[in-house]
């Protein structure tokens, strides 16, 4: 099940991350998880948020460039080899991972990872065929 991720362009200079987070805080929007990719020049803030449409509007109104991407939230057994098992499936299916990051908290006793595949649909099918559970909006946001 695909979920929506917001990506925000940040210049790599002091205070930029805080500005984006404050905009969301003011609108009382809670982040489920995030990751930050950065280079010397710029950063990309990736966010998973329950009400992503509202978050997008709020960020754009504040002048941010925002992009919505479909990603997969994959359930991983919280034990040695848990991630390796997923990656094996990914390899065999010839899928290309653009990037990945973890949810900060467990979901129903299991770890969860966000995967951005080149092609989310193909990846979803391959993982499903191998009995891998993917979290949808309902499971992801119920805990909180």
């Amino acid at each position: 099940m695909k979920i929506h991720q917001l990506s925000v362009f940040l210049e790599n200079k002091p205070g930029q991350l805080r500005t984006a987070c404050e905009v969301l805080a003011k609108a009382r929007i809670n982040l489920v998880t995030l990751s930050l990719a950065d280079t010397v020049q710029f950063g990309i803030l990736r966010l998973v948020i329950e009400d992503w449409q509202k978050a997008k509007t709020v960020l754009e109104t504040a002048g941010c460039v925002v992009k919505v991407t479909e990603v997969l939230a994959i359930e991983v057994a919280d034990q040695p080899g848990g991630l390796a098992q997923i990656l094996e499936i990914v390899d065999h299916a010839g899928l290309n991972i653009e990037y990945m990051y973890a949810f900060t908290e467990k979901r129903g006793g299991k770890a969860a990872l966000v995967f951005r595949f080149e092609n989310a649909d193909t990846a979803e099918q391959a993982l499903k065929a191998n009995g891998i559970n993917m979290l949808g909006d309902v499971e992801l946001f119920r805990r909180a």
Binding site: T39, Q41, R46, G63, C64, K67, R116
Partner: protein, 437 residues
Amino acid sequence: MNMTEHHPISAPDFMPVNELRATQLSRLQRTVQQAYDHVPLFHRRLDERGLKPADVRSLEDVRRLPFTVKADLRDTYPYGLFAAPMKEIVRLHASSGTTGKPIVVAYTQDDIRVWTETIMRSLVSCGLHAGDIVQNAYGYGLFTGGLGAHYGAEALGATVIPISGGNTERQLMVMKDFGVTAICCTPSYFLHLIDQSQQMGVDLKKLPLRAGVFGAEPWTENMRERIEAQSNIKAYDIYGLTEIIGPGVGIECAHQAGLHIFEDHFLAEIIDPETLEPLPIGSEGELVLTTLSKQAMPMIRYRTRDITAFYTEPCACGRSIRRIRRIGRRSDDMLIIRGINVFPSQIEAGLLRIEGTLPHYQIVLTREKDLDQMEVQVEVTPEVFSDEVRGLEELRKKIVRSIETITGIRVALRLVEPHTIQRSEGKAKRVIDKRNM
């Protein structure tokens, strides 16, 4: 009112060519005589060449006359080039000099009449008429844009909103609430208005606004395409300069293929900026203008520094007054980066070749270890933004390559957040030169 017929004020635009040339010659002779009689600098320069005003017998004889350059206006600051007594001068304007003193220009009552006429003819050429509601967002004051456009639009019978520049939110409110049908401002400011309108949730395409008369800075064809696509108006280029009269020296027509010069009031030549020799019709060079009607401050062979060329074909609109190509660059906004000549318009052209890149950019020049460094800052737009680092790096490389193809130099390119580059309320400040020279 029959919209296919032009306002009678535009009749000179369609004058038979032989009549036009005859008018130009008699006015040139009168102007030269007047400058010789009243402007000491011009008198001395003619004497030095052993010339008398009577030596101007044909239009080609203009080539024997000395050039006037911007430095002449500075050197004779403030009133040294005036050819009329102060009691006949009813208006002064000035252009802000980037260094030191401004240059001052003067108008008699008749000069104001001529200026008003050329603006009226310009607006008619852009399809405007009595009944239009014109938002004049050129700055009012010493700058010629505001009052120039104001007088012309009012004389045409349009409803003028003298809002002047700045206060973008109010501009958009007025545009929407007052049912504005045409706007006058700089093209970069209009782009800024488009930006702001999107943020304010105003859809320009749904407003009655149908024409923009944009000038006071060079802009590109791509910029026009963007403006027209995003606002659903026709964007017309108006040309002019303070030294000659202000806006209203030249204007596009409905065909948007070059700018018609109001040749009955301004004599245009194209010269080679290096050799100063006249160039054959159609060749690209520097535009040189001589005023044919100005009384207070006649300008003889003023070097505009604007690079253009005459069209050789007559225009489909039927105007007999000739057209020049849009001014893409000036011979003096040229940047010399490590010995290579670069024009800001080339950077813009490089950016616009990349899909989705809006022309909000700035060039920052620095000098490190005696080497010129050129950084181009470009605002990231939703169209080009990628959630992958690789995607943005590729965008950066693509832009660098595109600029390199046009200019031959590799620039340092920095992607910046939207709205971090200062928007111009007037002319866009494209170049920040931090080199200490």
